[in-house]
């Protein structure tokens, strides 16, 4: 056994496999024929699974941050600035972040389960035998669907979150509605919205890639599929948090 096959290098091999698959996918995007039908079906699937939970999850997060921010502002005697805090948190963090929690939590796990079940039934090997590249036929449309829908959903979640924050601040904490709306654009500008959209796109891309990678490398029967799904959720959350940290820091330098 050579040194490169030791068990200690197993996690590294997983990382390498992930990058190799990401590269394959990137190349396969430009290869004809593009799987349009699969792409549309997957986009519809992502939207159907994620729409309601994303919207429902976006409201409590924004309401919580509005609540704590208002606690602070009331203390300063500046409750009129409540809208500033709401738009700051909703646009910069909560919109893309909630979307991706839901995309990673519900869509990516379902996708990994689906691909994993196909893998252990050896359907992917059958495809390869028939001369169909599973990356081109299955992974590319799924990854693109996750990317596109994450971008679209994040805008929707941001708006719903802002609406929820508005309702909470105006009706429960007695902030003037005009002041809330007026404060919204005080420090949140077009640049922040763009950074938020870039975030959502990258989040969707990563979640899609992780789900597909874990799905097509499953081994070990039903328990293996369960574990792969669990790992998908954990790894995509981990990556998303890192991307969020980096993009927040980089976004400020770019927008400034």
């Amino acid at each position: 056994m050579s040194w490169s096959e030791t068990a200690a290098l197993e996690p590294l091999r997983g990382v390498g496999g992930f990058f190799a698959m990401a590269l394959d996918t990137l190349v396969a995007i430009f290869r004809r024929p593009f799987a349009w039908r699969e792409f549309l079906e997957q986009s519809w699937f992502v939207a159907r699974v994620c729409l309601l939970p994303a919207v429902v999850l976006g409201i409590p997060f924004t309401v919580l941050s509005v609540f704590f921010f208002n606690t602070l502002l009331v203390e300063f005697g500046a409750a009129d600035l409540s809208g500033t805090g709401a738009s700051l948190t909703a646009v910069n963090q909560i919109g893309p972040f909630t979307t991706v929690l839901v995309v990673a939590g519900s869509w990516a796990s379902a996708m990994c389960a689906d691909l994993g079940a196909r893998t252990i039934r050896e359907e992917l090997d059958a495809m390869r035998v028939m001369g169909i590249d599973p990356i081109q036929a299955l992974v590319v449309p799924r990854m693109l669907a996750a990317t596109v829908v994450a971008l679209l959903l994040s805008s929707l979640v941001t708006i719903t979150g802002l609406f929820g924050g508005f309702m909470f601040a105006v009706f429960l904490q007695h902030v003037t509605p005009g002041a809330f709306v007026g404060g919204m654009t005080l420090i949140t500008h077009l640049g922040d919205v763009l950074v938020s959209m870039v975030k959502a796109t990258l989040f969707g891309l990563t979640a899609g890639l992780v789900a597909c990678h874990r799905g097509i490398t499953v081994s070990g029967g039903p328990a293996g599929v369960g574990n792969a799904v669990n790992e998908t959720v954990v790894y995509s959350f981990l990556l998303l948090f890192v991307i969020n940290l980096v993009l927040t820091a980089v976004g400020y330098e770019v927008v400034k």
Partner: protein, 285 residues
């Protein structure tokens, strides 16, 4: 011909819709029943199945499979809270410095981390690692008919599988959350003082001035309430998985979605209840 059949033929869509609503309603009832049984059997977990509870504590804190390789639940949770607190510090520093009060970043860490960011992140990490893992395990057991085998052997399956996991989850989350909280504060301080170059005396002064110890205790209560909800939801979905390998995966997905929603609601309402209408905070001391 009975009236039911006649109705079905006359109004097929309405009857189908009513059937759907009824089965959804009864699923809700089944869930409530399962949760009630699980909570009632908690005494079993501590009296009859003490060894299994201990084993679950060990499994939950370290994780299984390749998760254990990267350091288990502790590492995942610590990493996630460090990332969110770092994001908060970065966002806070930039935002505060636009109005010239970047010195207050220590205050932002003490206030926002304790009350909102760390509980929310810890709960998300918990659902993703321990919760999803529990669903995957129980689902695989259900598919392989191991749960039925347990019942045949005369073991109380809910007490043995679900209650022990809920109990273990609540016990495990206390040290896990402490680690999360500490790492969160630490990463906020590192990002502010090392990356953005604020002097550490300024940071710690504002951090210590505005850190409210009872807030940390309250956030423990919030987290534990959310964790109980998460464990209940995840064990339910695992316990009732159907449909082969793909079914287990689907159950994990549905459970994660449901538990994230439920846990967020629990965080929202318990925070509102614990911190009160006014927010229970005095800036001026």
């Amino acid at each position: 011909m009975s009236a039911g059949v006649l109705l079905k033929q006359r109004f097929p869509r309405t009857v189908a819709k009513l059937d759907g609503a009824r089965s959804g309603w009864s699923r809700l009832g089944e869930q409530a029943l399962f949760y009630g049984q699980t909570l009632r059997s908690l005494s079993d977990a501590f009296v009859r199945y003490r060894a299994e509870t201990l084993r679950q504590i060990a499994v939950l804190s370290l994780g299984v499979g390749s998760l254990a390789v990267i350091g288990g639940t502790v590492a995942v949770m610590g990493f996630l809270t460090m990332a969110t607190s770092g994001t908060l510090a970065s966002q806070g520093y930039n935002q505060l410095s636009t109005v010239g009060v970047d010195a207050l970043n220590g205050f932002a860490s003490a206030f926002v981390n304790t009350r909102l960011v760390t509980p929310a992140t810890a709960v998300i990490a918990f659902a993703a690692t321990i919760g999803a893992g529990a669903t995957a395990q129980l689902g695989a057991m259900r598919i392989n008919e191991e749960i039925d085998a347990l019942e045949v052997m005369g073991i109380r399956s809910i007490g043995f599988l679900a209650s022990t996991r809920v109990a273990a989850g609540v016990i495990v989350v206390v040290p896990l959350y402490s680690v999360a909280l500490l790492l969160g504060y630490f990463s906020g301080q590192v990002v502010t003082t090392v990356f953005y170059g604020q002097s550490s005396g300024v940071y710690t002064h504002y951090f210590n001035t505005f850190f409210i110890p009872t807030d940390a205790l309250r956030s423990f209560v919030v987290t534990i309430a959310a964790v109980i909800t998460i464990m209940l939801v995840h064990t339910y979905y695992g316990f009732n998985a159907t449909g082969g390998p793909a079914g287990v995966g689907e159950a994990v997905g549905r459970a994660t979605r449901a538990s994230l929603l439920a846990a967020t609601m629990v965080i929202l309402f318990s925070s509102l209840a614990l911190y009160g209408q006014t927010g229970n905070f005095n800036f001026a001391g």
